[in-house]
Subunit: 601 residues, 2 copies
């Protein structure tokens, strides 16, 4: 067991082995931007789908909606440059909201972030597998299986505590940005295929609800920009200055990619299909199915996997902090021997795998659930920032985050309404449930702490109380005598209990017991059992004894044969195990089995 | 839990409530013959299938093969009339073989019978569901599901210990015989449809292997005749005489049915199909799809269910007797509170459900596995009978069972060869495996008994040995103190173990411990944990202590919070449970948790 764990997860690490490599602007961008940049792989397609469902002419709306998205991105970028300056230690929406606006707002952000991290994994992984499917059809045929295997791989990497090195990540990140821009550029440069693009929304009235739905789905293209602000300590000194520069670069490259993809997909009026992601469709038009097409698909998978990996740091850190605040179970607290929060990692991968399975590995089906959590956490962070600036009297500084908060809150509300039936309702149900769960957990831990608290100074320890050891025996043999010796070492008062399933056997037990010549305090009770139950008479005897000796502590010792081979366990101890199971729920006694190891066959 | 069990299974029964209703010849026939009589529902069809696969002309061979079957049935009937006279207490092939021909032969019969009982349930239930499918197409569409539900129903009936009353069974049994004979008679009486039956095997050479395969499949029509000889005590006095009369009636009715069905299916040269059983095909020809057709289908299902039910008495009785002889695990010994052998019933239904699932609920696919076990047990019984008669000097009396044994052994061998690839190999693999398992189990129990045996008179009980109680503590609080008080009541030597995951916390624990002012024998050990493992340092400390104090008994007490609600268990005790799991495999110490019940939320 331990060897398997070593081999899978590596040797344990000491506390002081948590080293930290500091990086420059580009290195930090490579490590922290993939979450945001990779959103280009599914966001524009999500924007396009509702429009294309109306009519080809309606696709024209891609252009103005993307322009609004880019404006929103600009606001967010500027706003998060402030976040970086004000919270250079990171912290995320939960900590920032909690410390600035109070526990309640912090909890809302916490619930939103838990949902967000889980969906980031599910959406990124499935979108990555779709991109892979463009070059390797087997992956497209088994999306769910391949996606879940990818989640397992990410889980393993994170349980081992492997840190992404910027030397590996930089080529993926920059190559992705470059390839997307080249793809969009070439697609725009090649001659227009027939039929010509529809230049204007001539006679194509698109219902407002569809526009809102398209916009709020497209808003998933901005998810992940906050990751950079959480990772400021990664940068070399002066960290927050470098991080601000990286944030600006992130905003510019993401904006360029969105504009390019939107323009190209409108010009060629690409029909979104579920079998081939939008980026791959554009690449096919630009380069044909050649080496560049393959490269783009593989790099898309890689950057999406890195994006999913971001959640594997964020989610366990968040559950750890929330468990410290006692809103989540204590099991999320300990750092394992590879310096990672194992239970948080496992919880995230289980939840993400469940989502992937429930939504048949289709990223576009998950998108309606996605934006709400992200935009709620954007809103909380920016509101906190605005409030701090306002209270400090820096009112001009408060304007930008306040505007940003209004915008992102609007997106969250629009998402909830426009995509309610398409899946947003799940998040609107899950978030209050999470809040209710947080409160229940904290209230329980509080009640337990009250009950465990000692007086100061503590009362003296009460003197030892009498203990009666009860020893169920099926017969009188060497195992029974070993257990009896053990029982006698713990207390002078021992009662052996024999359930008389068979009159003759009970008589033999009685006679053998007599030959043992034991002191008076060690006695045998033969319990009648008219209904052939073994457990019933023992439980009744315990109740009876407990009623007559309310101040005596009870210890039930169950003799247990321990055979050498695994299969032989099926041949023994069934009754003992049942008795242990029945008594395990009693709060008024202690139960233990006394092992009697067997040798030979 | 207990209430659910009461409601499902009924109140417990006292030993003396095992009453026995004695019945007359017809009542006994109704109770014990369904196993044999119901074989008409699948046997003739099994005989027909291999022939029909060759050619329509080959079906002529149904007539001579059925004639041979009826001769075999006559021999078996006469032979089992002797069995009834010699073994009026029943016993079955395992007990008879063991007592007459030795343990080895008994075991072979035991293995054969276990296989046979399981297949009786699987074949009867699936054939019954096929018959039901003739009137209720939904059953035909979900054979596996409906069959397994029927097994669950039979399991429930038998766990409740409901005895079949002959008042319910008599109409089913006699109506089935009557309906089958009327169906065959009417089918023979209606005019011959075109084309005319092929009167002779003109030019239709059938390979010998096909004939053997057809015959050995058809031999499944005789399964179950031994059930009557096992149930002799059911009859009123003079039981064995009434049973012999019933046996004769059974042989005659089964023979008539076989002859009638064979003749009718040959005359109308019915093509066997998997969707509609042969009996139902004949009924359709005889009456059309009217009330009689429906009645026959339902009665067929009913008698097959009763036949399957026979195994639910036979299998648990056999596993009980074999467990008494220590060839099977002890868990098959106890009689539950409804006076039935619960584990035997459950084992049978699990095995039968597994077979039904593996063979897609198709009785004809199971037939190749079926005959071997039955005919091996026929052979053992008759050999035993012949040997007893021969040794007692009644040599003429030995002739009939000896002839029968030769015939049934031949059928078993022919079955094994002719249907080897069709499934018989499974039985030929399973039976030696069962024998090997019996021997391994017995050898293990023997070795255990040797190790548990006491000297006579037993050596005096050794004096109490010193016990050290180890108490892992995460902090010093009321729960810890309660556990400490308990520990102190069991031994003067108590060592509290605190794993220092956090230096500050460890210091707090040390300081609080000092304020408790405990005697010197009760001390605190703070264990360092550079790799943040809780379990590792504790296990290492135990090893270390064990090495230094080899003669001290160790008791590990783990304090355990017991919350009031089930979900709250997820918030506590993870480490304690892990520690208990890790230590459960150690044979050199006793582990127990000390409950600390919580109140309130």
């Amino acid at each position: 067991m331990r060897m398997v764990s070593r081999w899978l997860l590596g040797r344990p690490l000491r506390d002081d082995e948590a080293e930290r490599a500091r990086v420059g602007v580009l290195g930090g961008l490579a490590a922290l931007a993939p979450d945001a940049l990779s959103s280009v792989a599914y966001g524009p397609q999500a924007l396009l789908i509702p429009l294309a469902a109306v009519s080809a002419a309606a696709q024209w709306n891609v252009l103005p909606l993307t322009a609004v998205l880019i404006l929103l991105l600009a606001t967010l970028t500027l706003s998060y440059r402030q976040v970086i300056a004000r919270y250079p230690e990171g912290g995320g929406a939960y900590v920032i909201g909690r410390d600035t606006l109070g526990a309640g707002v912090g909890l809302v952000a916490g619930a939103a972030l838990l949902v967000d991290y889980t969906l980031t994994v599910a959406v990124s992984v499935t979108a990555g597998v779709q991109a892979l499917g463009a070059v390797w059809p087997a992956a497209a045929a088994h999306t769910v299986l391949v996606s879940i295997l990818l989640v397992v791989l990410l889980t393993w990497i994170n349980l081992r505590g492997i840190r992404e090195s910027s030397r590996v990540l930089a080529p993926i990140t920059f190559l992705f940005v470059l390839l997307v821009l080249v793809t969009a550029g070439v697609a725009l440069a090649v001659p227009v295929p027939a039929p010509a693009p529809l230049p204007a929304p001539a006679g194509a009235a698109v219902p407002t609800l569809v526009l809102l739905r398209a916009f709020s789905s497209g808003a998933s293209a901005l998810t992940g920009v906050e990751a950079l602000s959480n990772g400021v300590p990664v940068f070399a000194e002066v960290a927050w200055k470098r991080a601000r520069t990286a944030m600006a670069l992130l905003g510019i490259s993401l904006g360029l990619m969105l504009a390019g993809v939107a323009a190209a997909s409108w010009r060629d009026h690409v029909q979104p299909v579920s079998s081939l992601p939008l980026l791959q469709q554009l690449a096919e038009r630009a380069f044909g199915r050649g080496a560049l097409y393959d490269l783009l698909s593989v790099v898309t998978l890689a950057i999406l996997a890195v994006a999913a990996n971001t959640s594997f740091t964020g989610f366990p850190n968040l559950t750890h902090v929330m468990a410290e605040d006692r809103w989540l179970p204590r099991m999320f607290l300990p750092k394992g021997d590879r310096l990672v929060y194992r239970n948080g990692i496992l919880a995230l991968s289980l939840l993400a795998a469940l989502l992937i399975w429930l939504f048949h590995g289709n990223p576009q089906a998950l998108i309606p659930l996605y934006a709400i959590g992200v935009y709620v956490s954007f809103t909380v962070t920016q509101l906190s920032l605005a409030r701090v600036a306002w209270q400090a009297g820096r009112r001009a500084e408060a304007a930008l985050p306040a505007l940003g908060a209004v915008l992102t809150a609007t997106v969250a509300v629009v998402s909830a309404i426009a995509k309610f039936l398409a899946g947003a309702w799940i998040v609107l149900v899950a978030m209050p449930l999470l809040l209710w769960m947080f409160v229940r957990i904290r209230r329980h831990y509080q009640a337990v702490a009250d009950q465990l608290r000692l007086a100061v100074p503590p009362a003296p320890l009460p003197p030892p109380a009498p203990v009666t050891v009860l020893l169920p025996v099926a017969g009188i043999n060497r195992m029974t005598l070993e257990a009896l010796t053990y029982a006698r070492s713990l207390s002078p008062t021992v009662i052996a209990l024999h359930v008389a399933l068979n009159g003759e056997r009970a008589e033999v037990v009685r006679q053998r017991w007599a030959t043992l010549n034991l002191p008076e305090d060690i006695r045998l009770m033969v319990l009648p059992s008219p209904y052939r139950s073994v457990l019933g008479p023992i439980v009744r005897y315990i109740d009876h004894y407990r009623a007559r000796h309310p101040d005596t502590r009870l210890l039930v010792l169950i003799p247990e044969l321990v055979p050498r081979r695994l299969w032989q366990h099926a041949l023994h101890n069934q009754t003992g195990l049942l008795l242990q199971a029945v008594l395990a729920f009693r709060k008024d006694l202690v139960v233990a089995s006394v092992p009697f190891p067997l040798s030979g066959e």
